[in-house]
């Protein structure tokens, strides 16, 4: 084993996972930036590089920049290559010795809201690209607006093509000030979760992408990849919240039909005859054996009990935190089913059948008042009636316009009446239990991403106008 390989290996064993998305258009050099990150972090293997080099040569790309069009590294399907467009979010993977990265590469020019919402919903950070020659555009404001709404933990603005403005500090500082103004207008960073970092880069030449550049001596911050390597992931932040939440996916109750390999491995069949545990993934906070919890079930008053065990595939854990998938045993034999939620005692509000929410409309089929839809929240799906649509957000000006309908890529506010109460929480404070899908009951398609708001009249932060 070479020393280098040994280092890679020892690092990988300890590495953590970090998910980020990119937002920006082809013109901002987004594909080139993604290609640069993959290329310089050595995620591109020889056969992929050969294919790109061949295609670059065929199309007469490359020229004096070394003969390879880095943007081709992220080129996807044949349909896209033929039309020179990006159809959909594509996922890329690369690793450094500190972290494994999942990159959601979101196309910027078509259906930007739909794709940005999709990519950002699972992202720990989003990198927004700005062309240094153009500065903050309406598109930048739109992207930041969507990211604010989705509570993305970290926003990084990469001011690209800094080489084309002669590495000018003045240009960079002016853009940086504009970005900060937009962030302030939107309230990004104001609640202690999100933050905005601004980095000058040249994706084409690699300045400040993986390594710090000596061509921007006035910039003393880290390179883009260093930022991505060190920011805490959203799960890490949310595992520390006091509000343990655990939507029950299913009940594990083998009733004597135990796994043959577990039995062969020495499992005591008698001890597991009456085994019953609730399987799920912790969405936020953490839980310990002995903790008091509240069980929320439709049609029941909230019930309190105690955690007697946390199991994971034959191992008994003393504690577990988001985003672990585990099985929880409880003291009382109470009737619990898929769709119920186990939560830290004293931290939950009542379930409600009146849902106030922001909707990111993702379907070509418009939303009209009075529509019957399905709402999928956690592990439950219920019928719902859209009582009214009361405004949509102008992403460029941040103003709310009156409307009674939402169309593809619109973000608006709506009130829904649910057929059964759900334990929804404000998305502002609970990214998982505050999120839901709106589904078309006719064909099953996903119509919208929903973000739960407080009821009007309850305390609500004035900044979040939509």
């Amino acid at each position: 084993m070479s020393t280098e390989t040994a280092l890679i290996e020892s690092g990988l064993r300890e590495s953590t996972l970090f998910r980020f998305a990119t937002a920006g258009s082809v013109d901002d050099g987004k594909s080139t930036l993604v290609g640069r990150l993959l290329h310089d972090s050595k995620a591109i293997l020889a056969d992929q590089l050969d294919a790109v080099a061949r295609t670059s040569a065929d199309r007469g790309f490359g020229g004096d920049k070394g003969g390879i069009d880095l943007a081709l590294l992220t080129d996807g399907l044949r349909a896209e290559r033929e039309q020179g467009i990006t159809i959909d979010v594509a996922y890329r993977y690369f690793a450094t010795d500190r972290r494994s990265f999942i990159l959601a590469d979101c196309p910027g020019h078509v259906q930007y809201t739909k794709n940005t919402v999709t990519g950002a919903s699972t992202a720990d950070a989003v990198v927004v690209l700005i062309d240094a020659r153009k500065g903050v555009l309406e598109q930048t404001r739109r992207h930041l607006s969507v990211l604010q709404l989705l509570r993305v933990a970290h926003v990084i603005v990469a001011v690209n093509k800094i080489d084309l403005v002669d590495f000018s500090e003045d240009v960079f500082r002016a853009i940086e000030a504009d970005v900060q103004q937009v962030a302030r207008d939107l309230g990004i960073g104001a609640d202690g979760i999100s933050d905005v970092l601004v980095v000058p880069v040249s994706a084409l030449d690699g300045d400040n992408v993986v390594d710090r550049s000596d061509r921007t001596p006035w910039y003393t911050g880290p390179a883009l990849l260093e930022v991505l390597e060190t920011l805490p992931a959203a799960d890490e932040l949310e595992s520390h919240l006091e509000s343990f939440r655990f939507p029950v996916q299913l009940v594990i109750r083998p009733q004597g039909a135990l796994a043959p390999d577990a039995v062969a491995g020495g499992l005591d069949v008698e001890a597991y005859r009456d085994y019953r545990a609730y399987a799920g993934q912790i969405t936020e906070g953490s839980v310990k054996v002995g903790d008091q919890v509240t069980v929320l079930s439709p049609g029941h008053e909230p019930r309190n009990t105690t955690v007697t065990g946390i199991d994971f595939a034959g191992r008994e854990l003393q504690e577990a935190a988001a985003p672990q998938s585990v099985a929880i045993r409880l003291a009382e034999e109470i009737d619990i089913a898929r769709g119920d939620t186990i939560a830290a005692a004293g931290t939950v509000a009542d379930s409600t059948a009146d849902l106030y929410a922001s909707l990111c409309w993702l379907s070509p089929k418009p939303l009209r008042e009075g529509a019957k839809v399905l709402v999928k929240h956690g592990t439950r799906t219920v019928q719902a009636l859209v009582r009214n649509v009361s405004g949509k957000l102008d992403l460029g000006t941040f103003n709310v316009e009156e409307t009674s309908t939402l169309e593809l890529n619109d973000i608006g506010h709506a009130q829904l009446r649910l057929a059964a109460p759900l334990p929804v929480e404000n998305y502002l404070h609970h990214r998982r239990t505050g999120a839901f899908l709106v589904i078309d009951p006719l064909d099953g398609n996903t119509l919208a991403a929903g973000l739960v708001k407080d009821h009007p009249g309850d305390h609500e932060d004035e900044r979040y106008v939509i």
């Binding site: 996972l17 020889a46 202690g192 799960d235 890490e236 595992s239 083998p254 935190a321 996903t446």
Partner: protein, 317 residues
């Protein structure tokens, strides 16, 4: 760093994070996969797992045993048998099914050829022929969800596929008409005739798979590790000599120490020269590899730049 912060900086959380035990990337991927497997089992009537004995499907099955412990894996496994299998893989398949007490459903390419419902290809490769028996088995058994071990790092087309991928009556994938997949909320609703392919290890890389196999001490068919084998060179790969994979007169047969990075149809899967005899050796080899697994060992993916995209649109895995 150019930072925009307010009066309430985030340092508090940074400090908290540093004292916590953070999940490793493998633990995070494992947790995500188990969550998806449980969601599919909870929301579908008749799921099944595609099981070829290949490393990705072996990892999938291992994750399923963990998801439902101490209960049994609550779905059957489905193998599309090309009739061109490596004997040690079929042996491994049968032993695994027995050990876990699973039901095995086999869709046979050979039977379709014998009945005249499929024709042998000129190049002898049977991988692309798997689609018809696969869809037949899905229909016949009324499977509404089929787990696969597909990973997004394998191929450009896979990079754009959803974790739950809706397929029509013909098993077709429509890349331009996919449902947006948000947060960890998976929408598996489908109408009669449609089914869903579920890819819980979408976000794993080849290296993640190997590190996990090492960590969990998962048994694999022996041909994943270095062994001596009679091979001949074709299309820049080492092809095993076997009943369905015979050298042409000009192709010289030699004995080499090789292993397989992927296990598929014997007629199109190539071996790589390797002295990785143990899982730890393989992890090191993969970490240092300069070729993708499909580029190195799959003739069917070399047919054209869009080979996988075309097969997926036709209902392939």
């Amino acid at each position: 760093m150019s930072t925009y912060t307010t009066e309430e900086p985030t340092q508090v959380t940074d400090a908290a994070v540093s004292t916590s035990t953070r999940l490793s990337s493998l633990d995070t991927l494992e947790s995500e996969a188990i969550h998806i497997i449980r969601e599919v089992v909870a929301e579908f009537e008749r799921p099944a797992l595609l099981f070829s004995g290949g490393k990705d499907s072996v990892v999938m099955l291992h994750l399923a045993t963990k998801a439902f412990w101490p209960g049994k894996v609550p779905f059957p496994v489905l193998h599309v048998d090309t009739g061109h299998n490596f004997p040690e893989v079929i042996d491994f398949r049968d032993r695994t099914v027995e050990r876990l007490g699973l039901k095995l459903v086999v869709g046979s390419v050979q039977e379709f050829i014998d009945r005249g419902e499929l024709a042998e290809r000129a190049d002898g490769t049977r991988n692309p022929l798997q689609t018809v028996p696969l869809l037949d088995a899905i229909q016949r058994n009324k499977f509404d969800a089929v787990f696969g071990g597909g990973r997004r790092d394998e191929d450009k087309a896979r990079a754009k596929e959803r974790i739950l991928s809706l397929r029509d009556e013909f098993g077709q994938w429509d890349p331009r008409n996919q449902r947006p997949e948000l947060w960890n909320l998976y929408n598996g609703r489908h109408t009669v005739g449609q089914h869903v392919r579920a890819f819980p290890i979408s976000n794993w890389t080849e290296l993640d798979i190997w590190r996990y196999i090492e960590r969990e001490n998962i048994e694999l068919p022996s041909l994943y590790y270095a062994h001596e084998r009679e091979v001949f060179a074709r299309d820049g790969m080492w092809r095993a000599v076997g009943e369905v994979s015979l050298p042409l007169p000009h192709e010289e047969v030699i004995t080499k120490t090789v292993r397989y990075r992927t296990v598929g149809d014997m007629s199109c899967t190539g071996a790589v020269e390797s002295d990785a005899y143990t899982v730890a050796d393989v992890v090191v080899e993969v970490a240092a590899s300069t070729l993708t697994e499909r580029g190195a060992t799959r003739a069917d993916d070399r047919i054209s730049e869009a080979a996988m995209e075309d097969r997926k649109k036709d209902g392939y895995f």
